[in-house]
Amino acid sequence: MRQISYADAGMEALIEEMGRDATTFHLSTDAPPPLVERFGESRVRGTPIAEGALTGMAIGAAGSGFRPIIDWRMVTFSFVAMDQVVNQASKIHYMFGGQARFPILYRCTVGGGVRMAAQHSQSPYSMFMNLAGLKMILPSTPRDTKGLLKSAIRDDNPVISFESTRLLTLVGEVPEEEYTIPLGVAEVKREGSDVTIIALAWLVHEALAAAEILEAEGISAEVIDPRTLVPMDTDTLRASVRKTGRLIIADEAGPTCSAAAEISALVTEDPATFRALRASVRRVCALQVPIPYSPTLEDHVFPDRNKIAAAAREVMAES
């Protein structure tokens, strides 16, 4: 199969969906040349630096029959648009009794590891998960990026796509023929019997590497990528933990009120899954600090394959 990058896969999804649906349009500071070339400056607009207005304008255009795509670029810049996200986009369908649909895609990059310091290294998806009314994807491969983005554009709700900065240049297999990946379906990336590692985005790759390390030590790890944060494929996650009896959740965000915390609760509050647990649940997350610039500090703050493997050894030692 042909191989393309995570970033190019995302662009392909936009090109295909914008070609398919004339009600889509794209707004971002600096318009992406591949989209401008194909769809022109009317549908693909470079905008002033005014993310709050863009985020709100998407809501108005969506409620008026369009399917806006807003690229915030970094999640960092979504924060100047938080009123429009929190008070408006997440609530408008519900608050007005479902009168109109608001199909919007908000895209942004998340994560650290590129020495960009606190403001430009953030993984705040749980802040958005805390709101009712927004769907969220977090792809870990080029194939998933394209398939999930296509579903996100076709969805009739506001969807936020969190795309990992560390994975933008990752190259992987992407089918040439048309496909989509439905929202809310996790993927078992590797089967195993001793411990379940639920990992997000870049950490999926670290978890797979950890599973290799563990295999050499006789520990069989199952690695699962939820791929969608809202809705969460709770059934797949629970089924795995019922099989292995041990759970580690790995994410680049800090642990407090995180997606990892939510996954831990969703999995363990199910009585049958809880009874199957043979060890405590571990979150392997970033330290709860703003992300520092210097390499010695940043590398210390983030989780990686070694920290995942260490956590797996610990839970194996528990029972």
């Binding site: 500071t29 470079g46 002033p48 630096i49 960009m116 330290l287 520092p292 610039y293 500090l297 940043e298």
Partner: protein, 322 residues
């Protein structure tokens, strides 16, 4: 203008220090010794130095993502700046900030900022503090043409004008925001026009003419200190380099436009002025000054390189004040 020849030479030295510091920072970034990203101010030096030379020591400024020039112009120590870029524990932010986040509160430099327009309301709060304190301090916001379309610019100008805060808003209009031309983002040709909407003076100055920038700032500062409120100064200038020093950074600006601005270089202009009209600078003196600056920058690099990387355990320090 009543700026002594010594002061003028000092202004030149600061401008050239900014340029040489950034040339070195860029080279060391490309070589892999400096991480993340570096935004250069080269070409815009007359704005930072013109403004800061018209301020008092206790006056405060806030910067942008393109912050090295503002730091140096306000009197920051280039050893600690370079150490911060190198990610060392002796850096201004102990290696936590890097190029985009240098601050020195002791000299009234309230920080570079990664959020476009993010500093404008913060420095307006420093202006409020100055008004409450009543000691005649002024506060200066540096920001780009791109930032002038963002909410904090408009909200802050309105409040500052309504409350007559001792503020100077300095728009560095370098004609581009990354690869978006200001002409496509601005509803009016000049950012300064917007001052009228807030009932405050708005001036357009040649941002490559350090004396024009200095003079406009003096007048705005006098007005602010007299309790007459804020001013907006728009400095028309140009960045010589791409948006960032990242090798993959795309630059779509027309070559003719770049060339035309290179002809209006603010440093050469001041050198010409000092050499010609006043005979205050000889070729040898200028060469010596430049050599001294290069040596000084090289010492800053030595200092950075000799400093240790922070101990990983320091990552959890400073989340809260002790």
């Amino acid at each position: 203008m009543d700026i002594s020849p010594e002061r003028q030479r000092e202004m030149l030295r600061l401008m050239q220090t900014i340029r040489r510091f950034e040339e070195r920072a860029s080279a060391d970034y490309v070589a892999g010794d400096i991480y993340g990203t570096v935004h250069c101010y080269i070409g815009e030096e007359a704005v930072a130095v013109g403004v800061c030379s018209a301020l008092e020591q206790e006056d405060q400024i806030i910067s942008t993502h393109r912050g090295h020039g503002h730091c140096i112009a306000k009197g920051a120590d280039i050893d600690r700046m370079m150490a911060e870029l190198y990610g060392r524990e002796t850096g201004y932010c102990k290696g936590k900030g890097g190029s985009m986040h240098i601050a020195d509160f002791s000299i009234g430099m309230l920080g570079a900022n990664g959020i476009v327009a993010g500093g404008i309301s913060i420095i307006t709060g420093a202006g409020l503090a100055a008004q409450l304190e009543g000691k005649g301090r002024v506060a200066v916001s540096f920001f780009g043409d791109g930032a002038s379309g963002a909410g904090p610019f408009h909200e802050s100008l309105n409040i500052a004008a309504a409350w007559k805060l001792p503020m100077i808003y300095v728009c560095e209009n370098n004609l581009w925001a990354v690869n978006t031309p200001a002409s496509s983002s601005l509803s009016v040709p000049d950012v300064a026009t917007r001052a009228a909407g807030y009932g405050i003076p708005g001036m357009v100055v040649d941002g490559n003419d350090i004396f024009a920038v200095h003079q406009a700032t003096r007048e705005a500062a006098a007005r602010a200190r007299a309790g007459e409120g804020p001013s907006l100064i728009e400095c028309k200038t140009y960045r010589y380099r791409r948006h960032t020093e990242r090798p993959t950074q795309v630059d779509i600006r027309p070559a003719e436009e770049i060339d035309a601005w290179l002809q209006k270089d603010p440093i050469e202009r001041l050198v010409r002025h000092l050499k010609g009209q006043q005979g205050q600078l000889t070729d040898e003196e200028w060469e010596r000054m430049d050599r001294e600056i290069l040596e000084r920058v090289s010492l800053a690099v030595d200092y950075a390189r000799a400093s240790a990387f922070p101990d990983p355990a320091r990552a959890t320090d400073d989340v809260f004040a002790a």
